[in-house]
Symmetry: C2
Subunit: 242 residues, 2 copies
DNA sequence: GTCTATATCTAGATAGAC
DNA sequence: GTCTATCTAGATATAGAC
């Protein structure tokens, strides 16, 4: 398998506690060190170059020369670290999707951060707000990576694509679980749980497409706005004042 | 300019009343005749082939041979009708974006279909529901075209890109107008109108990315669901029942 | 307007010196 | 592990016959 080259990508899943705390993620990571765990250095620089290039121009329009150039290397050097251009995309996708799953796992759990939740999933709104807020923040903060992760999937080979789809399903299930819990407890009033789950995922993901650091809102602000909008989506509206 | 080749694309803006009635759009159009006005026949077939191919594989990964093949022609024949591959994308984008503007213009107007609205923009919720419903329906029904229209913009040349961005701004302004009217009349309770406008646009647009005709919902059902979700987004939530 | 044939270029990937 | 040089394939676009 292409994924078992010896100089390969560390997921970050086990790479120490420097960037995945309970309060979300990205707050104290620099603009794009999603690949901090990758060694050797050249392999990481190539990955970062690939992310930039793929985000700017798309996978197919990006040349290996371009990627190598951004990493300060010759075109041939790329192939020491990655078998193909597609393998670069796969590593980016995998790390990004694993991060998504982790963010949502963290946010969706019932034993909230420091809170003394009674136990029976009473706090679905808190979990939902936390999930949307940190998921959106990640897509804005790491919009370059996220753009590649979310919009270049079709360039993966079949095997890699299947693996990524599995991770996406896990993310969706995590979010749906929160909506189901809230519906069961009466905190939410949702007409179509599966459909609403999809809509919320879609809303969060699409942040990566339009977000710009030059825009008028910070990732934090967008996260807060979106959390509020989503909370309204799952809550029965008040009768319109006349 | 590339856009003035003699055998070129009719917008559909003036092409008769066969598919843009007051009750939305797409209901009685076949799966993809967004380009019904294009003549000669070969030019239209090429456009349809390009839409399919771009949607499946992306602009850069699509070869002119592929497009020509789908249209039942040799690679060279393409260049009789279009100067470059990019021009095909431009025509697809332009027609699609003009359709979006038209759908939103139609839906956002204050003199609703047959209704006797008093006159002072009392019916913002109706306008919003109508807008979201038909905009979403278009993105689902024509998801192949919409995918190209929404996700391949970066492959346009600078001049064409600028033109398309102008159309996108018009769409956004149409939607924002509805939210502003509803906020002014007290029908809506929106914290951040610009941000909410963006979120709603984003939600609708992203339907094109994930929609599949094999999925469990029809375009109509998704449109209805989304209209409800968006209406909740702009309405003050009822206090949670305890 | 369409075809066959082809010019020209550029991409991904490899060979082999250092 | 990195470089220079290069192989090979396939892309866009054009030429010229029909």
């Amino acid at each position: 398998m292409a994924s078992e080259t010896e100089s390969q990508v560390a997921t970050g899943e086990n790479s120490g506690g420097d960037d995945g705390g309970a309060d979300g993620d990205g707050a104290f990571t620099t603009p794009d060190d999603s690949f901090g765990g990758v060694t050797p250095d050249a392999a990481r620089r190539l990955l970062l170059g690939a992310v930039e290039a793929f985000a700017e121009r798309g996978f197919h329009a990006t040349t290996t020369r371009d990627i190598a150039g951004r990493a300060g290397m010759s075109p041939a050097a790329l192939y020491i670290h990655y078998k193909t251009k597609e393998e670069l995309l796969y590593q980016i996708s995998r790390v990004g999707h694993e991060r998504s799953v982790r963010i949502l796992t963290e946010a969706a759990r019932t034993d909230g951060e420091g809170g003394d939740s009674g136990g029976d999933g009473e706090d679905a709104p808190v979990r939902l707000v936390r999930a949307v807020r940190s998921f959106v923040r990640w897509h804005a903060e790491h919009h370059t990576t996220a753009r590649v992760v979310q919009y270049e999937l079709s360039a993966l080979n079949e095997e890699h694509y299947a693996e990524i789809v599995g991770l996406r399903r896990r993310s969706e299930e995590l979010l749906r679980g929160v909506l189901e819990d809230g519906e069961a407890s009466g905190e939410f009033a949702i007409a179509d749980i599966r459909g609403t789950t999809l809509a919320v995922m879609s809303l969060c993901i699409d942040v990566a497409r339009w977000f710009s650091p030059q825009g008028r809102r910070t990732p934090e602000e967008i996260g807060a706005l979106y959390a509020d909008l989503v909370l309204r989506m799952v809550t029965a509206p008040a009768p319109a004042p006349r």
